[in-house]
Symmetry: C2
Subunit: 271 residues, 2 copies
């Protein structure tokens, strides 16, 4: 099996999406819109969920069971929660061992897909997706890993048609990349949630934080985050740190102190 990414008259390669979550909602339509690819099925736990993605595609069948999965597809994209990938891999073992099987996870190792065949890979778009929020896919960085050169080449070719940023990455490097993304995205978002909650106690709208947060992000990418570090911990201002830890309440005081200590340690040699 070989996927054409250039031929004008070839039949589009058939793609099956297993999973109909936030990622599939964004990525399946992008692949379906490529000339050489056609998403033929979307499989989810419920028909309603499968339809939420298949209704965004030209001609895809929604399924709520793996029993009717097309065994003649060229590419199977497993876009389910990390903890479900081993289950899916075991359940679909042997269905189509010559096809490409790829998962979309930042943290699951490639060999989790071994039961599915020899052409296995990782197709990881590093972005925070939500159903209902259209993302500009061409700026999403994709990270690719393949069990052999052919898989790597073909997954890379698909990703390059979707995005300007496509990188080959080993499993270990991808795990570290994912951990770095958890800091930059998931944990950052949680700090914003805490900030918003503290403001709400005094009836202040979280919107007042917007210029500050936007400038923080712009500056971090323009000059490097360490160069833009400001605040009480950066100044070693212990009395403000204590006052803040008191006023925000026990629930967040430990986190406030650990983050402050981490900043203080980072700049210790320069103070």
């Amino acid at each position: 099996m070989s996927i054409s990414v250039s031929g004008a008259m070839t039949t589009p390669s058939k793609v099956v999406f297993i999973g109909a979550g936030n990622l599939a909602w964004n990525i399946a339509p992008a692949i379906d819109s490529l000339k050489d690819f056609e998403v033929v099925q979307v499989v989810a736990r419920t028909l309603e969920s499968a339809r939420s993605v298949s209704c965004r595609l030209a001609n895809a069948q929604p399924l709520c069971s793996t029993d009717l999965i097309d065994s003649t597809a060229d590419v199977y994209i497993i876009a389910v929660g990390d903890s479900d990938i081993p289950l899916i891999s075991a359940r679909l073992a042997g269905i189509n061992t010559s096809a490409i099987w790829a998962h979309t996870s930042g943290s699951i190792s490639l060999d989790t897909l071994t039961p599915l065949g020899k052409n296995i890979g990782v197709f990881y778009p590093m972005q925070t997706f939500s159903k209902g929020r259209e993302i500009s896919i061409d700026s999403v960085p994709f990270f690719i890993e393949g069990s052999n050169d052919s898989v790597t080449r073909q997954l890379t070719a698909i990703a390059r048609q979707l995005s300007d940023s496509v990188t080959l990455l080993s499993g270990d490097d991808r795990t570290l990349l994912h951990a770095a993304a958890v800091f930059a995205c998931n944990f950052t978002n949680h700090l914003l949630a805490i900030s918003s909650e503290l403001l709400s106690h005094r009836g202040i709208s979280f919107d007042v934080m917007k210029p500050l947060v936007e400038e923080t992000v712009i500056k971090a990418f323009a000059t490097g985050p360490d160069n833009g570090q400001t605040g009480p911990a950066r100044r070693g201002d212990i009395s403000t740190i204590n006052r803040h830890a008191d006023i925000i309440g026990q629930q967040y005081a430990r986190l406030y102190r650990l983050l402050s200590d981490s900043i203080i340690n980072r700049f210790k040699e320069n103070v």
Copy 2:
């Protein structure tokens, strides 16, 4: 003393800036550009530092000592580090007790300025400032507190000429606001620094994080941060959390686990 904010023929009110750091570099020119105000002096520890701000102003004298401070100014703005505010307040006591004296800190109480006179206030622009980075002042939220109605009214009038977002805030509320800003800005920036460092270990440019971080911030303000929370902790995916804590090294593992626990606790009732 009363400051005219509308009179066409009045003499501009004289403003002295004490401090020539990141905040003064941005705010002093904005005030100097107002029709009714003129920054006449900038005082700093060194003449070089004072000049870095005064050179951005129409006609201000740089000073490296408080001895020559103009005792006939209308407004004194104390834009020094938080820990220096009590020292400045003690040193300048009695110079001009009828003028307005305001500090620009999010976390220092108003009464720290009591030695300076009865017309004291807080003029707090909530933004992360850097010398060399021009900020659009009109979107910076200003928070005002005054020791009496006249001070409050006059500081508010100045802020309203600079910004579209001006709010009166008590000292306690300002401390909480500042703590919330530390979470949203200083701590967020530190997480970005950790993310950047982790990537650098594998030779990956921090720039790959930009689309993810930008989308995280856009989503947080569009739908509220809790609604956009994703990631291993949000899914209760303990095996990924353990794998990340292992791979990032001891230095950041404790912070990773505390932030993950904080997210897990936040969503516990909804899981």
